[in-house]
Amino acid sequence: MELVLLGAGGAAGAVSRYLIGLLFMKKYPHPYIPSAMLIVNLTGSLGLGLYFGAVYDAIPTAAYDELLYLLLGIGFFGAFTTFSTFSMELIELIRKKFYKKAILYFSLSIFGSIGIFLIGFMVSR
């Protein structure tokens, strides 16, 4: 059962990330920084924060025995957001020597995700 929930949440999260990425690139083909994955990571972190605040009232250290957490927390929001693409896009900016863009992309992705997660968590608590 656990594996089915993880798989379903993960599949839905990854497909949503892909489709949002496609839509974004169609509308804004030349963003200043790689914004599609930035937006995905920010919304996904906000979603997980909202979920944690609403369901747990605190950030859980371990909620792996709860099926909804596997489906939504680890599954959907976990797979909707991504770290590997963030790494690749950051490396690409550094390789092209776009240092200002790299710092902006890095800061918005990391501090933005943490900050917006906290906002979501506080709001729904």
Partner: protein, 134 residues
Amino acid sequence: MIYKNIIAIAIGGALGTIGRGLLNMHSLWIGLPIATVIENIVGSFLLGLFTGWLIHKRTKDWVKTGIGVGFCGGFTTMSTLAADTLLLYMDSSLLHSFVYLFVSLFAGITLGFIGLILGSKWGESEVKRKVVNH
């Protein structure tokens, strides 16, 4: 075309997420959220390797998206990283939180870069081998 990609991403994303979930569940005894650190580092390395390989080699679109967007994307995560960073700060200390974030970022980006270089060499050597054989 896009449907093939979507199916490949769903399968890759499901597998990556199941792998991540299992690693998380089986590392709870450690008491520190170390699994996500490892997943993000390994996933970045794998995506680097694949991206580097693709510089020289061609493959079907659904294979690319299934492995890259699906598996590597689903195996790594940003939302749990954000949650873990704050959890460590609240439950443990600012230092632990900082170390967690620093190791994730430094090792993830470095290994991603190493993967990219290795993957590119791997792809290049495959192309050369093909040229020699013909």
